[in-house]
Amino acid sequence: MFTYRKAYRPYISPWDPCPPLLVKTYETPPQLYMGFQPMGLPQFNSREALRRGTLWPALFAPYTNPYKDAKGGVCDDGGTPMDG
């Protein structure tokens, strides 16, 4: 599944002082992948576009707080946490 948020399992030392964040995430928003924007992409209606900040669903990528579920080791991208 394609996502705008990637997750990885960082190295965790047995000597780390704080309880570990098992999964960390970073953002990879849509503009990294599009290259030159193709002509004729589907558009939001103007009311929606004004609210969302873009005319195109392909560029709409709202940000959510990744720490909400982070402590349980579950990532926010709909995928399952990676294997070791």
Binding site: M1, Y8, P10, Y26, T28, G79
Partner: protein
Amino acid sequence: MWVYEKKLQYPVRVSKCDPRMAKFLIEQYGGADGELAAALRYLNQRYTLPDQVIGIVNDIGTEELAHLEMIATMVYKLTKDATAEEMKEAGLGAHYADHDKALFFHNAAGAPFTATYFQAKGDPIADLYEDIAAEEKARSTYQWLINMTDDPDLKDGLQFLREREVVHSQRFREAVEILKEERGAKKIF
């Protein structure tokens, strides 16, 4: 930890007595897009980058320290035998008044080095894009420096350093590609 090897990454030779060129070269020593800013930027950013790209950034940051030594050697060779009068004539009077012939981290216009020359944003894409931009800016600085000298030996060293900027930029671009890949996805064999 680093292991020090007591030689330069690439030999530095200067065949023309041109202390004025030292004043321009110092841009790559203590300037915004210089080698010190590059080394400190990468060696600081590496801690909070995803594991897959830490090695790239660490290695490039280390190499920047080797470039810093090369620039220092060039500047030193160009000024070490200058008299106070010659320093003044080369436009280095203000530098001489404060530092004698000692090197100092400032840019070609004399503005002292500052940590505000670079950023550590914590967002890996933002940080790597800054790194790519920094490499391109350093590449152009080397071009303008090459344009200002006709010393073939000095040019040779500067050409080498310019080429390294090209390679580093490519490596940072590859790091971005690595981060763009879907790694959490289940692999099917």
